[in-house]
C-alpha cells in the first residue's frame, strides 16, 4: 500500500482517535496532516509494518507539540524549538493498538447541538476526509460558506464540550436518528444525480463506505443495517439508471442484467439480519421496497401489490409527501391509473414540485388523459430537471405529440 492510500484508508480512524483524546477536531486534523507530510518523507525507504498505528503514535506527539506551542503563544512567551523526534520511541508506540473512535466521531459530528445543515458537511469532511472544495461542488454551495459551516461546527464541538462518545442507549432515539438522517441526506445528494456526472454523485461511494462502517460497528441496530442495505440496493442499480443516450430509465424498466449482483447480495444479507432483530423502522421498509424492485431480477415481474403494502407500512412512520407520491405511483401499477391519480391528488404535493408533475404526467398518459399528460410533462420540464431526467421527460412528451 502506498503512503497516500494508507493515509486515506486510516485517516478517519486516526483523526477520530486524536479528536477523542484531545477533544479538538482542528487539532486532530492539523496533527494528522503534519504527520502525513512527515510520513511521506520518512516512509520512502522503510514503510512501517502497521501504518495506522505509526500514524497515530506520531500524530499524538505532533498534537501534544501543537498544543504546547499554542499555550506558549497564548502566554506571549517566545516559541520554544520543537522537541527532536525520537524514532525509537515512535517505533515502540507504533506497535501498540489504538482505540477505534470512529463511531464516537460520527456521533459528535451529528450531535443535535450542531446545526443540521452543518452535520452532513462536517461528517463527510472529518470522517470521510472529503475536501472543502469537493463538498462545495457536491452541495452547490460556495467554498467559503461550506468552510464557515465546518469551522463553526468544529469550534462548537470544542468550546461547548460536545463529547466524542457513543451515547448511552437511552439517548439513541434522538442521537442515532440524527446520525442516520445525516447519512440519508448525504446519500440523497448522490442519488438524485442518475447520470453520476456531478460532484454529488461522488458522495455515493463515501456513504456506501460510511454506512458499511456504521453497520459493522452497530450490528444489532436494525435501522443502521437497513440504511446500509438501502444504499447498497440503490447503488447496485446505478449502471442501469441511464440508457445509451443518457436518458433516465425508471427502476421498473431497467435492464436487471446491468444491476450489480454482489452489492445486491450484500444488501440482502444486511436487511435479513435487520429483520431477525424484530424492531421495524422506516429504513427497513424503504430497503424492502428497493428489494422488491430488485426481485424482478429473479421473477421477471415487479411485485407492485407488495410495494403498495410496503408504502402503506412506511406511511405509518413517515406521513410525508414524498412517501405519498411514491405510493400513488405504485398504486397506479397495482390498481390502475385512476386509483393512482386519485391517490396522487390527495398526496398534498406542491404543484411546482418536479416528482409530482412527472408522476402526474405518467399516470394521465396511462389513463388516456392525453391533454392533461402533455400539460404535466410540459410543467415538469419547466421545473429545471437534471439532464438525464429532462431527456426522459422530453422523450415521453414527444411520443404523446405524435
Amino acid at each position: 500500500m502506498g503512503a497516500e492510500a494508507a493515509f486515506r484508508a486510516h485517516g478517519a480512524r486516526v483523526v477520530a482517535a486524536l479528536a477523542a483524546r484531545f477533544r479538538d477536531l482542528d487539532l486532530a486534523e492539523d496533527a494528522f496532516a503534519d504527520t502525513c507530510e512527515r510520513a511521506l518523507a520518512v516512509w520512502s525507504d522503510a514503510p512501517p509494518r502497521d501504518p495506522a498505528a505509526w500514524l497515530y503514535a506520531a500524530a499524538v506527539r505532533r498534537a501534544v507539540d501543537l498544543k504546547r506551542r499554542a499555550a506558549v503563544r497564548a502566554r506571549l512567551k517566545p516559541d520554544l524549538p520543537p522537541p527532536e523526534p525520537d524514532p525509537e520511541a515512535l517505533l515502540m508506540a507504533a506497535d501498540r493498538p489504538f482505540p477505534d473512535e470512529r463511531l464516537g466521531l460520527i456521533f459528535a459530528c451529528c450531535h443535535p447541538a450542531i446545526a443540521p445543515e452543518a452535520r452532513v458537511a462536517l461528517t463527510l469532511r472529518v470522517v470521510c476526509g472529503l475536501s472543502v472544495q469537493r463538498l462545495a461542488r457536491a452541495f452547490l454551495v460556495a467554498e467559503p460558506a461550506i468552510l464557515q459551516r465546518i469551522t463553526r461546527a468544529k469550534r462548537k464541538i470544542r468550546d461547548a464540550g460536545v463529547p466524542f462518545e457513543v451515547p448511552g442507549r437511552a439517548a439513541w432515539p434522538e442521537r442515532l436518528e440524527a446520525v442516520l438522517t445525516t447519512l440519508e441526506i448525504a446519500y440523497a445528494q448522490a442519488y438524485q444525480d442518475a447520470a453520476g456526472a456531478s460532484e454529488a454523485a461522488e458522495l455515493g461511494p463515501e456513504v456506501l463506505r460510511l454506512s458499511g462502517v456504521l453497520a459493522e460497528l452497530l450490528p444489532d441496530e436494525p435501522e443502521v443495517l437497513a440504511l446500509a442495505a438501502l444504499v447498497r440496493f440503490a447503488e447496485a442499480r446505478r449502471p442501469a439508471r441511464l440508457d445509451e443516450l443518457g436518458a433516465m430509465v425508471p427502476v421498473s424498466e431497467q435492464e436487471p442484467d446491468l444491476w450489480l449482483s454482489p452489492m445486491i447480495e450484500e444488501g440482502a444479507r444486511l436487511l435479513d439480519r435487520a429483520a431477525t432483530l424484530r424492531r421495524p423502522g422506516p429504513r427497513q421498509i424503504l430497503a424492502a421496497i428497493h428489494g422488491a424492485h430488485l426481485s424482478r431480477l429473479e421473477t421477471g415481474v415487479t411485485p407492485w401489490a407488495d410495494i403498495v403494502e410496503l408504502y402503506d407500512a412506511l406511511l405509518f412512520f413517515r406521513r410525508d409527501t414524498v412517501t405519498r407520491v411514491n405510493r400513488a405511483v405504485a398504486a397506479a401499477e397495482a390498481q390502475g391509473a385512476d386509483a393512482g391519480l386519485a391517490a396522487l391528488e390527495t398526496a398534498g404535493a406542491p404543484r411546482d414540485w418536479l416528482p409530482y408533475q412527472a408522476a402526474r404526467a405518467a399516470l394521465c398518459a396511462t389513463a388516456g388523459r392525453l391533454d392533461e399528460a402533455r400539460a404535466a410533462y410540459t410543467a415538469a420540464l419547466a421545473l429545471d430537471p437534471p439532464p438525464a431526467e429532462r431527456l426522459f421527460l422530453q422523450r415521453r412528451l414527444t411520443a404523446l405529440q405524435m
Binding site: 447541538a113 468550546d159 464540550g161 463529547p163
Partner: protein, 116 residues
C-alpha cells in the same frame, strides 16, 4: 467544564390564581433539582430572577450611555433564572438541562462558560 443554564419562560404562565399554583409547583421542583445537583457535586450557583418588568437596561452606543426601562428585548419568553453547573461535557449538561422544570413553552439555553 462550567455551563450556565439560562431559563426563559412565557411570563404570563405565572399570572392569576392558576399561575400562583403553577409557581408553587415549579418552585418545589427547583428545590428537588437543587438537592440533586448538590448531591452530585455539580452545583456552582443559581437563582431565580424577579419578573422582566423589574429589569433596567444600560445601553452604550456612540460613546453615550443611556438607561432604559425593561429587558434586552420585549419577547414573550423572558429569562427568569439560571443555574451554574460543573459537568463533564455537553451531554452531561444537557441531561441536567432536561431536568429543569419549566412551564409549557419554556426553554433552557445551555452555554459553556469561557475559560481564560
Amino acid at each position: 467544564m462550567k455551563y450556565l443554564m439560562l431559563i426563559a419562560e412565557p411570563e404570563n404562565a405565572y399570572e392569576g390564581e392558576a399561575g400562583e399554583a403553577k409557581l408553587t409547583e415549579i418552585v418545589g421542583k427547583h428545590m428537588a433539582l437543587v438537592a440533586e445537583l448538590q448531591a452530585a457535586g455539580a452545583l456552582l450557583g443559581g437563582d431565580g430572577l424577579q419578573p422582566s418588568f423589574t429589569a433596567t437596561t444600560v445601553r452604550t452606543q456612540g460613546g453615550a450611555q443611556t438607561v432604559h426601562d425593561g429587558p434586552f428585548a420585549e419577547t414573550k419568553e423572558q429569562v427568569g433564572g439560571y443555574y451554574l453547573i460543573e459537568a463533564a461535557d455537553l451531554d452531561a449538561a444537557l441531561a441536567w438541562a432536561k431536568k429543569i422544570p419549566v412551564v409549557d413553552g419554556g426553554m433552557v439555553e445551555v452555554r459553556p462558560v469561557a475559560e481564560y
